[in-house]
Symmetry: C2
Subunit: 473 residues, 2 copies
């Protein structure tokens, strides 16, 4: 295992060189994070499907538990149960439109991960960096538990647990726990824990920061230890349910689901789940005793428990919905944590937007009006007023606006339009609108896929390292 | 699936071009052999172990169910549940001794399979062709159910079901059902079903042919159909027991076995099996209610049922031992079928050699004296006399000797020495003599291995074809 340990030291050094400004030492955060025995025991896998011509290259890396699809190159890296796909990569000949530029791709886009350590990180590949559209790059970066690298090139970064970088190109940044960042580009910045910051230069800027005292109950990460708090406990408590789906090669199928719906064989579906047309349940999603209405989805690392999703509801990567009733067309952003209870349900009216990284953890029944925008931290009905606004009202803002810990400036219309546009893109891409012939998306295309399973050397100096693997069509 | 079907046609054409002399049409034998649906459903796998640096290259092929280890290149081929390893390949710098030549290897030996179709064929790689020791080649060849290609380069051949070519380089030959051939080199020959022919030019020649009338009860293969008979029924009846080991990713382990023994996770071990030190049970072996004494082995595709192997017993590839008691140091050759029954056991005395492709299918209890050489077809004690000879007696022959359907000429001493030498090599290579520190072999070295699992395209024109895969250390 010497080689694997040396690799981790090398990665830490590379990250620290990048982070010398801001001055940050990644080492004490990482050294305990890598579960060496599991790095040897867990397998990684890649999908073979005609729609996503494979192009995989893995070298000098450990990939334990990760999932690859499409075109992915990984070298000198340690990935642990990281969900990495390649099903939204751009193709040769595509035109990538970005702020007035029309950039034609001269070759297929490929995910490149190098000198990086990703622990249970989701990588989603709908990248938005116009500077090198053929390469989606993650270099010299450490990303910790349940962080989302979402269409974001990152280089020389440290991403705290449950953070999300979304459509943001990052250079040499430290991103705190539970930060949500959508800012096109950011360099040499340290973003404090619990910040939700959405900024479109010249158009709008949405800013909220969770109360650090409250947030630390949910997630905290101190040097030398593991991430701790309610979020970690919640996920760890359900870890065993995932064991079975990784242990069996051919699973008994989960009863009948509509032809147009798709349920990953790497998702956990517990009893009493109903799945309607065009539903997408992604790998490592967890659904229990819930109704998934037409076109609803549960993306990677989502948990949907004792809940009702009426239809066309989006559950973005890592979101958790427990004891909730969602009207149609509700968007629940990344890593949001929505928890009602048996006696008091959370009701969310149709067309509402739950901003990424919102915590709604109820002490009483709460109802959110239709067409609301919701953020922050909510325990009861009173909190809703300080942490939401009607969509029509925010769309009317032009200038500055503050409510509770949230500060907004710029064009509310642009903000609302951008959200609505993006939600439509997600529903479309996921196949929510498939009519039996047209408007296919992931729900229809992900149905037929072969999984190839790869493991590392079980003994010797290379223990824990995978052999060099190249897969081409 | 168009590409896969075209591939099969191409292979048939290549084989037929090679077999124009002797004039032979492989097509009607093959067309029904390939179970298309299983070619898509079954996975293949390769082992990653520090002792066998991987070098795999697979292209334009289907590999359903096959097992690769070491260095194997497969292109334009269809392999179906073929056991192919690479754990006895020669290495760069090795000196290969052959009839007075000392041939140094200038690179590592690799198995090359091209334009071939192997159906449930075992390939064992201890090759003996001195002409290109760096390449163990299987080209333009069709090999059918449970044939063994054992250390034998083959080109342009058709191998019938349950045949074995052993240490024989074959060019453009048709090998009938249940033929055992060990003849160094053979070209443009058609060998009739049931022939057992062991020939060391200038030293000795052992020849036996099973009665075709009797043999067809055990195995027959007619154009347009599948192989039929007792051998096929026996194997098919136990097929379901193998399902479970391929379905589970991590199997519950089979109780305690000695540290020095090795049990493949792809073997079937049914209740009441005892495994002693230095035992080797290979993948796709099947052991039930039996005792495996120290250093005994069950090689690929063996079945050992209701039997007692005292120790240092070799069960060569594909042999079946049912209701038998073997003394120490008994060798049971390839594809032999030894079947006693509940009321009448088969007893084989120590140091005996059961020649490859022997059928002992009892109608009464039978005892074989220690240090016998046994061949042919035996139903009762009387048959033993016509189908065996004391080892000392055959070693004394110098010239011609006939017994029943067996004909021998040459030096009996050379024949006996060659067998004894080979059995020692097998026991040594398998680790039967491991003393806790030295004399390691497969039983000790095969214990720690990772299996990587590969599958073909599940849909589209390439359905059933695997992507191009390259694996290097």
């Amino acid at each position: 295992m010497e080689q694997l340990q040396e690799l981790l030291e090398r990665i830490i050094q590379r990250v620290n060189i990048n982070l010398r400004e801001p001055l940050f030492d990644a080492a004490p955060y990482i050294e305990g994070l890598v579960p060496w025995e599991q790095m040897v025991k867990f397998y990684a896998f890649y999908g073979i499907a005609p729609q996503y011509p494979p192009n995989f290259y893995f070298s000098r890396s450990n990939l334990a538990g990760s999932y690859f699809l499409g075109k992915c190159h990984v070298s000198d890296s340690i990935l642990y149960k990281s969900d990495i796909r390649g099903d939204e990569l751009k193709r040769k000949g595509d035109i990538f439109h970005y702020e007035g530029f029309a950039v034609p791709l001269h070759e297929d886009e490929t995910i490149h991960i190098k000198n990086s350590c990703l622990v249970k990180t989701l990588v989603h590949n709908n990248s938005h960096d116009p500077e090198h559209p053929e390469e989606f790059t993650i270099y010299n970066t450490v990303s910790t538990h349940y962080a989302n690298i979402h269409g974001s090139d990152v280089e020389g970064c440290f991403l705290g647990p449950f953070s999300t970088v979304d459509l943001t190109t990052l250079h040499d940044c430290v991103i705190g726990e539970f930060v949500y960042l959508q800012k096109k580009e950011l360099a040499h910045h340290q973003v404090p824990a619990g910040t939700i910051w959405i900024s479109a230069a010249g158009a709008f800027d949405f800013h909220y920061r969770h109360d650090p005292e409250i947030l630390q109950n949910y997630i905290r990460f101190e040097p030398g230890g593991m991430p701790k708090g309610i979020f970690m406990d919640f996920v760890e408590d359900r870890k065993e349910d995932f064991q079975r789906i990784f242990d069996a090669f051919n699973l008994e199928s989960f009863g009948v689901i509509p032809d147009s719906a798709s349920l990953s064989r790497y998702a956990v579906v517990k009893p009493k789940v109903r799945i309607k047309e065009n539903v997408l349940i992604s790998q490592r999603a967890y659904v229990k005793n819930s109704y998934m209405g037409k076109g609803a989805n549960a993306q990677e690392n989502c948990f949907i428990i004792d809940s009702h999703l009426s239809g066309y509801d989006v559950t973005a990567h890592g979101a958790k919905i427990i004891h909730a009733h969602l009207g149609e067309n509700v968007f629940v952003g990344f890593n949001s944590f929505l928890r009602g209870a048996d006696g008091f349900q959370l009701k969310i009216g149709e067309n509402s937007i739950i901003m990424p990284h919102t915590i709604i953890d109820l002490a009483e029944a709460v109802t959110i009006a239709p067409s609301s925008v919701v953020w922050g931290f909510i325990r009861n009905q009173d909190d809703v007023d300080q942490n939401s606004i009607p969509l029509a009202e925010i769309a009317a803002i032009d200038g500055e606006f503050t409510r509770g810990r949230m500060h907004f400036k710029g064009s509310g219309k642009n903000f609302a339009d951008a959200f609505r546009h993006r939600i439509e893109h997600i529903l479309e891409a996921n196949g929510a609108y498939f009519d039996g012939r047209e408007k296919m998306g992931h729900a229809q295309q992900s149905q037929i896929i072969s999984y190839n399973i790869i493991q590392p050397y079980p003994e010797g100096a290379n223990k824990g390292l995978y052999p060099t693997i190249e897969i081409l069509p």
